[in-house]
């Protein structure tokens, strides 16, 4: 078996080959690990690099005169890292935070529950308690060093200067899982605008988060900044917003609407800026800040009067007689009537057995006094002749379509596009709508009530106020918007562009005359403010219960500064609430204050509450 010496010497090559083989295999392995695959690099980064978020300060919101509405105030979030949380005296912790042991146990279980908290990791900071005030935090801070694994994150929360405009301004709250899903800017625990301006302008207000990239060791301890902070980004503060809202006007509106349901919307006709947007009932926005938010929000949510519903843009009501102005404009433009056309009214519109009642006034009437006295018959005749005009329109459907187009051009039937979430579109019926409802067998008489803003027609208070602005502008409007200016940004052209209706300016002048007549000698006499040429139109919207009291107007007549809609649910005649409230609002805005007697009047209306019962609405 012995081999020759020469044979054995050859074995050096076998041994050498083994060594070369090993090294080759290892180099190939190194190549696959280091060059072929990117996974390990990513893995390493998620291992060692901790991205700490630097929160920017949220933009401040002011009113049209630069008076503060919403600002920031520091608050403190308590964060916990489960893996580091060892040897903590739980009782002491609970005591310093003012919580019960039960709360502690429950909260810890919630954090660990991956279904509720999908981003859970033992090694990263998890939100334990949010929004401690400075006072609450003070107690805790002194003992913080004893609570291993607990950290404090300074955040800022919103604070409100006055208890007004809650629905308009909106609020911020923690992001929902859906928000996180939709926009990867957000992480669990971040705040996001939930309603109103806060939500609509979330992107401008929030700013840009910064990140600090920190090195974290295997036990999760921070070991300094990655690359000396080269790759860190600074937070960019959110942009400040200036609203078109007048704080005093808003406050007065909310005062006047106390104890009532409804809405007041005022618009500056020349710009489309919303001067005030009152929705009643309302609430103090400050109760939705801090840790009581959840509880208070739930209370508001379950209130049968629905204080969380912004009636100015979400409420859809019959516009009532204020809608007659749109009819007058349409009939004039279509040539159905001229300003000189007169229609008879002996206690109402009577035709083929159908009667629409009207109050007592001279007959027959021409257009201007018809608007002034709010004659039902006049507009019913108008619609009757329009829908029955087979020379101009081949079918009633065609007439209906033309009519609908006029309404839409005046801002009805579709969302106006206000810069607030949740706006509703109202309802302007069209031909297919009635075809379906009456199986194709209908005519002008069937739908006659739409001419007086009843029946199927529905509009939001914002759309009614916008009608006022359109008439004040004699034929166009600018999409109403609450934000007047965004710091360092120009406004969307949607909010600067004029939108013309299908009616010529000269016809508007006629309707303006009618509305002026209403104030001087018609239904709106209570709207007369000394020294100001007010134009107005009442509305008494019929309803299953008590009528809604409506007013739509603008002032001054020849240089309109304010257009307004007042809608008081179940307020009775237009003149009962709508007209006086509208007048007070216009006086406040145009004069900057109320005269002493107006102040007395305001107080009286503030005290006058309407009983709505306790039924679910």
């Amino acid at each position: 078996m012995a081999k020759s010496k020469y044979d054995l010497e050859k074995r050096r090559y076998v041994i050498g080959a083994v060594a070369v083989g090993i090294v080759l295999v290892y180099i190939v392995r190194l190549f696959t690990l280091q060059v072929m695959s990117d996974d390990y690099k990513k893995n390493a980064d998620s291992n060692a690099l901790l991205k700490r978020v630097q929160y920017p300060s949220r933009g401040v919101i002011t009113d049209r005169h630069g008076r503060l509405l919403v600002y920031n105030q520091p608050s403190y979030d308590i964060m916990v890292v489960m893996s580091e949380q060892e040897g903590v005296d739980t009782l002491d912790l609970c005591e310093s935070l003012g919580i019960t042991k039960d709360f502690y146990v429950r909260r810890m279980a919630e954090i660990k529950d991956r279904r509720r908290n999908p981003g859970y990791s033992r090694y990263t900071q998890q939100l334990f308690m949010s929004q401690l005030s400075s006072e609450e935090f003070c107690v805790f801070q002194e003992k913080l060093f004893r609570f291993h694994g607990f950290y404090v994150q300074r955040r800022s929360i919103r604070q409100y200067q006055s208890p007004h405009a809650a629905l308009l301004l909106g609020d911020i709250g923690e992001v929902s899982p859906a928000d996180v899903e939709e926009d990867d800017y957000y992480q669990n625990g971040d705040f996001i605008g939930k309603q109103g301006v806060e939500r609509a302008y979330e992107k401008q207000l929030r700013g840009e988060k910064g990140t600090q990239i920190l090195l974290r060791d295997a036990r999760g301890r921070i070991k300094g900044r990655y690359k000396g902070g080269q790759l860190d980004t600074k937070p960019v503060p959110g942009k400040n917003l200036t609203l078109g809202i007048d704080r005093e006007l808003q406050a007065l509106g909310e005062r006047l609407m106390e104890g009532k349901l409804g809405s007041i919307v005022a618009i500056e006709p020349a710009t489309g800026e919303v001067l005030c947007m009152v929705s009643a009932p309302t609430y103090d926005p400050r109760i939705l800040v801090g840790r009581q938010r959840g509880k208070n929000h739930s209370k508001l949510h379950h209130d049968h009067l629905k204080p969380l519903l912004n009636r100015a843009i979400m409420g859809q009501f019959p516009p009532g007689s204020t809608f007659k102005t749109t009819q007058a404009l349409t009939f004039l433009q279509e040539g159905i009537i001229t300003p000189e056309t007169a229609f008879p009214c002996y206690g109402g519109f009577i035709c083929r057995g159908l009667k629409v009642g009207c109050h007592a006034h001279a007959s027959p009437v021409k257009l201007v006094p018809a608007v002034g006295t709010s004659c039902n018959a006049y507009f019913c005749w108008g619609l009757y002749y329009m829908f029955g005009n087979r020379k101009k329109y081949k079918t009633v459907q065609e007439a209906m379509t033309v009519w609908k187009d006029y309404m839409v051009s005046m801002g009805f039937g579709y969302k106006l596009g206000v810069d607030l979430p949740g706006e509703r579109r109202g309802l302007i019926p069209n031909a297919p709508f009635y075809d379906k409802a009456y199986r194709g067998s209908w005519n002008g008489l069937t739908v006659i009530s739409i001419s007086i803003g009843q029946g199927e027609v529905n509009a939001t208070p914002l759309q009614i106020a916008n009608l006022g602005a359109t008439i004040a502008n004699r034929g166009y409007f600018i999409t109403p918007h609450v934000v007047k200016q965004i710091q360092g940004e120009t406004l969307d052209t949607l909010y600067t562009k004029r939108r013309y209706t299908m009616v010529e300016r000269r016809h508007y002048e006629t309707v303006v005359q009618g509305m002026r007549r209403a104030v001087l000698a018609g239904t709106c006499r209570k709207a007369d403010i000394p020294g100001i040429e007010v134009c107005g139109k009442t509305g008494t919207a019929q309803n299953r219960g008590q009528d809604h009291s409506v007013f739509m107007g603008f002032a001054p007549m020849n240089d309109p500064k304010i257009a307004i809609a007042v809608y008081v649910e179940n307020g009775g005649w237009g003149a009962d609430y709508g007209v006086p409230l509208g007048a007070l609002m216009m006086e406040q805005y145009l004069n900057g204050k109320l005269s002493p007697e107006s102040e007395k009047k305001a107080e009286m209306y503030q005290q006058r509450h309407i009983d709505y019962g306790t039924a679910e609405r």
Binding site: V14, I15, I22, L30, L33, Q34, A44, N47, A48
Partner: protein
């Protein structure tokens, strides 16, 4: 007398192998850079030369190693051969005593403390064992094929190995298996190494694919492959060792043919467990080989039959050992290595983090002191056993491959030096040194790359620590001194 010594010293410097010294220096330099990377603290920044830091301490170890190497070079080259058994005996005593005097460090009793210093006796045992092995195997009339010499040789290797196992340093003990490479060079039949490789192959394949079924056929892939390999190896060995015998052809033709036939039958006709047929083929093969051995009076056929029986026996007993004998944590380690279990936070944590660290280095690495994974302690033992991670992370593919190539050059250089020795003693010792280095690199780097089991042995010249550095330096420089004296005529033999 004075003049003679002067000439001799001059001779040492002239005939010293400077290439090896250069490789040694290069590896030490790379090693020190890696330790700086591994022990650097982002938090404190810190001075890498400070003796508070491990990088600073390593400078001391490197400096003392140089001094040690110098002393070794200045000593007479004869003393190693002369005192080989003395060193060995002294080492055995030390190894024996160690577990009794050493304090418990992580369950291992291997560190002897003398004053402020502590050292690991096992690191020095390699050198002493290599010397004793070289002395014994180069003695006059030594014949490895003689059973007495064979037994004595194995005893020299396995006694220190056993003693080190008693210190709970299984990793260091396994290093002694590398001496089998020396035995191979000195005449041990290659079949032993082949058997070893075959055993590993059976084990890995058998366990890795033990649970996987072959489609419709109710036979495990692992069993099928291993039994197929046994038949293939047997036929191959007959072909290699028994010349132009038709036996190999017969085995392949009839055995292989039968298996293929049965496989088809099982797949398309009636599914049944093919392994019984394969075992039958193996049995028939063994009987046939025994018959040929008796008929032709050639013992080799008989040995080959024995190999086949042993293979099948090993395969089935390994399965038993894995499931019944091994501790659960050892079984988990083996399963993780074979990819049967995924356990990134448990047994697989070290290897997984090591792979992440190396993988994140990319082609060019993150740069000196810029690695995050090793410094932030994601990789355990990042400056000792897992030091190669730092190389991979900070120096990237080029650096890591470069280090491997340096080790390869050192290995090949050592083979070259060993082969040029005029006497068997020098050659055997040289191969021992080479084998030890190769084994360390093979296991250590393989472990970090997730290719070999996690066995805690240091990477020569890289891993932090005085004992291992001194141990490797002594091992290498003794050989360099012997090599430097190769041209001198020995006074007596």
């Amino acid at each position: 007398m004075e003049r003679q010594r002067g000439e001799k010293e001059k001779g040492v410097w002239r005939s010293l192998d400077w290439w090896t010294i250069l490789l040694y220096m290069a590896l030490l330099a790379f090693g020190w850079i890696s330790i700086c990377g591994a022990s650097y603290d982002f938090d404190q920044g810190g001075d890498i030369f400070s003796f508070e830091a491990r990088s600073g301490m390593q400078i001391i170890w490197i400096a003392t190693s140089f001094a040690l190497g110098l002393v070794l070079l200045l000593l007479n080259d004869q003393i190693y051969e002369t005192f080989a058994y003395v060193f060995y005996a002294f080492m055995l005593v030390l190894l024996f005593v160690t577990p009794f005097v050493a304090p418990d460090i992580k369950g291992s009793h291997s560190w002897i403390k003398i004053g402020p210093f502590s050292f690991q006796s096992a690191e020095f045992a390699k050198c002493a064992t290599a010397l004793a092995l070289a002395r014994f195997m180069s003695s006059y009339g030594y014949d490895f094929s003689h059973w007495k010499d064979c037994l004595a040789t194995l005893t020299i290797i396995f006694v220190p190995l056993g003693l080190i196992v008693l210190q709970s340093e299984t990793g260091s003990a396994l290093v002694f298996l590398s001496f089998f490479l020396v035995l191979y060079r000195e005449g041990m039949t290659g079949s032993v190494l082949f058997a070893g490789v075959a055993a590993v192959a059976y084990f890995v394949i058998g366990v890795r694919y033990g649970e996987v079924m072959m489609g419709y056929i109710p036979t495990s892939v692992g069993e099928f492959l291993v039994l197929g390999l046994v038949i293939l190896f047997t036929a191959g060995m007959v072909r290699v060792f028994c010349g132009k015998s038709p036996v190999a052809l017969h085995i392949m033709r009839y055995g292989g043919g039968l298996v293929a036939l049965v496989l088809c039958f099982s797949w398309w006709v009636i599914p049944f467990d093919v392994k019984w047929v394969m075992l039958g083929v193996c049995a028939g093969m063994v009987v046939y080989l025994c018959y040929v051995a008796l008929r032709e009076h050639v013992a080799r056929y008989f040995y080959i039959a024995l190999f086949a029986v042993g293979s099948v026996g090993f395969f089935y007993s390994a399965d038993y050992v894995l499931n019944e004998v091994l501790e659960p944590h050892q079984r988990v380690r083996i399963n993780v290595l074979l990819g049967l279990e995924d356990d990134p936070s448990g047994a697989g944590y070290n290897v997984n983090q090591a792979k992440i660290a190396i993988g994140s280095g990319g082609l060019r690495g993150k740069g000196f002191l810029n690695g995050t994974q090793t410094k932030l302690k994601y990789v355990p033992e990042q400056d000792t056993d897992f030091i190669f991670c730092t190389v991979g992370e900070e120096e990237g593919f080029w650096g890591a491959a470069g280090v491997l190539l340096l080790f390869l050059l050192l290995t090949l250089r050592l083979i070259h030096l060993a082969e040029r020795q005029p006497y068997a003693f020098g050659r055997i010792y040289g191969y021992s040194v080479m084998s030890v280095f190769l084994f360390h690199v093979f296991i250590n780097v393989g472990m970090v790359l997730g290719l070999t089991p996690v066995i805690g042995i240091p990477l020569p010249f890289f891993s932090y620590g005085g004992s291992s550095l001194w141990g490797f330096t002594i091992l290498l420089f003794v050989f360099l001194r012997i090599d430097a004296g190769r041209n001198l005529v020995r006074r007596n033999d």
